[in-house]
Symmetry: C2
Subunit: 445 residues, 2 copies
């Protein structure tokens, strides 16, 4: 569709574009506008029907949002902001520069302004920063019929009407009622009779990862957020939680690759910022790796007298690192999903011992054949390398399985015990093993 | 709560347990039953009220499901199966051994049996294997009031009533109507007037990753699934999609650690199975790493005459691998989230060139100081190592950024271009650079 609309744009056939836009999903229009220049995106944005404009606006990248915000009139901007879902508006304000925020706050009344400032102050990644205030609020003494009538009058401005939240006169959270319950109830039945008081809610300061886990466990579609006095202040809906799950996974992917996590997309972040996020861990790992260098120096004489040993160092270090990375990734992921718990430590050790022994025997055996038969090295060299491989793989896999669990039990994020750190530790182990076995076997024969 | 219930169980206070269970979420009861022995889990399961038993059953691990299935009477089992959501029943049947499946199918009528067999045959990870048949079906000529009455009579057996699916008399998919639209419409308004024909649906054979992306993009709560003749055969709801997102991420985590993906949890899989999933890639990487060994052999004379060079090999290889892994992880994740597209290749190269130059200068510089001042090596050694570091980091980062994009454009999963493979390639590059620079600088001075 983008090509077709671009063509219509060149031909200045705006009425046709306007009609076309009705059939396209808001997300797709936003994606298309993000790719246009300022002038064209403004032109097309203004062709959107009023009720669709706010939805499209909420999906735009913050760059395009900012461009539009400064290009359109204050009147137009006010109309869009009014139609935005409250949580989308907060997300938008968080990204805008001070002058745009000022322009918008100027157009709000005192009460709204206080509320917006309160929401902007919730910590990133907290329930407060995820929630919206656009929920359906019911009272205990309403009948089902009255509740339905109430919902009819306010439905359009609410993020969801399928779960309703019941509070006391002091806004204390009492329970939830689903629209399904209301429809199935006799019209004269009171909300107090169909309320589910056995609900699960979160506090404004709870972390988004914890919230995502609750949604996954209990298959919720929405969830109430209360303050420290158990007053209902907002709700969180599943569509926002889906984004949280992706965010949390991205954070783990980055940590596991020794990058300090960032909320910015790869193409959005500045080059200096990207460099900074990477240097910290590279430095730590680089200086740890020099420790491995000391081991080589210790055995310089051995290496000088038998320089062929050096040729197998990359393979030993690489295979050890990879073997350890496999175990640590499996265990880190299982910890994140709750499949492996702290108490499973001994189970993990026992599994990794057996798995690594099988893997080590297979790889060590194949290596022996290759080094001895194919490459025509001495039995001694083949034995040293293969034995080292077996021991390296075993210790790498056990360490890869154990270190994430130990990290978690110490309150450290297990994700940092991934490939880079494990490889660095395993490198030292494999080299030390290698030279020790070599010295021992050479003295033996 | 588990401790409390265990205690009550020992004291044989079953009526109290029965009361307690009413207040606990089905997921938590299932998690608790999974930890009990066969006898106790059966005892407690039987205390559950009929309507809660099926929900708890659907959350149990397949081991516990199997134990219960063979322990309870055929009559009890039939009652539970009847109350299971259709998609949960299919999931359950897929995990059970043949004798249990037979026992269950025996209790179903011909029509059900055909349907179940059809669902069991949809490929894993397809829309067909995710969907449920428990949707609300409406016809065009109903009025809003009639539709609401219809929903009231069938609501209890449907997975969601909040989106209704409108079909022709030949079951052709026509559009969707939300419960919100029905409630807001005038009672006499026809469904044909409020139907949204501009819906997005999927085919039974579409892949679950594609489906999850649609849910994320458009913030759906449910979605229709049609066959090749556009007949509505089922719907997919967001709670199942959340599990798919986790599954797909797990798959990426495993691939990026050079493990062949598996659907089984870490503690559930057999040891031999785990070993098999890991050996394939370790073997490939091991034999690729021997290539790096050849490079060392080529420069054996140089190494023999200047054995101190060997001491820096682990640090150079490690840092290069880590630097490449950072870029590849960032780009693989951005590709998966759709933030980076194939056409961004040149942008990625240019970013990585600049980032890696900054990182390389910083790390190379620090290394020079350390090797020359702290470790009192010659300027020559310090220069060789630092220059190699700069070149290695630059090429590692550019390759780490580029290879995943190239893989994707060739139709290969970019996730395999992660740490292990990149490290192996970068190892060879860094060693070759190292010895070339060493030879060159030594001849120069």
């Amino acid at each position: 569709m983008p090509e077709r609309i671009l063509q219509l744009l060149q031909e200045k056939k705006l009425p046709i574009i306007k009609k076309r836009l009705l059939e396209i999903q808001p997300f797709d229009i936003a994606e298309f506008l993000d790719q246009l220049n300022k002038k064209d995106s403004l032109l097309i944005f203004r062709l959107l029907p009023k009720n669709k404009a706010a939805k499209v606006f909420s999906y735009l990248s913050s760059d395009t949002q900012q461009n539009l915000s400064v290009s359109i009139s204050e009147h137009e901007l006010k109309a869009i902001i009014k139609d935005l879902d409250f949580d989308d508006m907060i997300d938008y304000l968080e990204e805008m520069p001070a002058n745009v925020v000022k322009k918008i706050l100027k157009n709000t009344n005192e009460v709204e302004r206080t509320l917006i400032n309160q929401f902007l102050n919730y910590p990133d990644n907290s329930a407060g920063s995820l929630m919206t205030i656009e929920y359906v609020n019911l009272k205990l003494d309403l009948t089902a019929a009255e509740a339905l009538d109430h919902i009819r009058t306010i439905a359009l401005s609410k993020e969801t009407i399928y779960t309703c939240f019941v509070t006391s006169s002091h806004k204390k959270m009492l329970g939830i009622v689903s629209l399904k319950d209301l429809i199935l109830a006799a019209p004269q039945q009171k909300v107090s009779k169909i309320i589910n008081r056995n609900y699960i809610g979160v506090n404004t300061h709870d972390d988004q990862e914890y919230i995502a886990d609750l949604f996954k466990k209990y298959d919720f579609f929405s969830m109430p957020v209360v303050d420290n006095e158990n007053r209902l202040v907002g709700i969180i809906t599943i569509d926002d939680v889906v984004d949280v799950i992706d965010q949390e996974n991205t954070e783990d992917f980055h940590k596991m690759a020794a990058i300090q996590p960032s909320d910015q997309g790869y193409l959005e972040a500045g080059v200096l910022g990207l460099a900074k996020k990477r240097i910290f861990w590279l430095l730590i790992l680089m200086f740890s790796a020099t420790f491995t260098g000391y081991i080589i120096r210790q055995y310089a004489d051995l290496l000088e007298s038998m320089v062929v040993l050096a040729a197998f160092i990359p393979m030993l270090m690489g295979t050890g690192g990879n073997a350890g990375a496999q175990s640590s990734s499996l265990v880190i992921r299982s910890l994140a999903l709750g499949e492996v718990k702290l108490k499973d430590l001994s189970k993990v050790v026992w599994r990794e011992l057996r798995v690594s022994f099988i893997v080590g025997l297979a790889l060590g055996g194949l290596n022996f054949l290759r080094i001895f038969y194919l490459e025509q090295n001495s039995v001694l060299i083949a034995a040293i390398v293969s034995l080292t491989l077996l021991i390296t793989i075993t210790s790498a896999k056990v360490m890869g399985g154990v270190l994430p669990i130990i990290a978690k039990s110490l309150g450290i994020d297990p994700a940092i015990m991934a490939n880079p750190l494990i490889s660095t530790i395993v490198d030292a182990i494999s080299l030390f093993t290698y030279f020790s076995i070599a010295t021992w076997l050479i003295n033996l024969v």
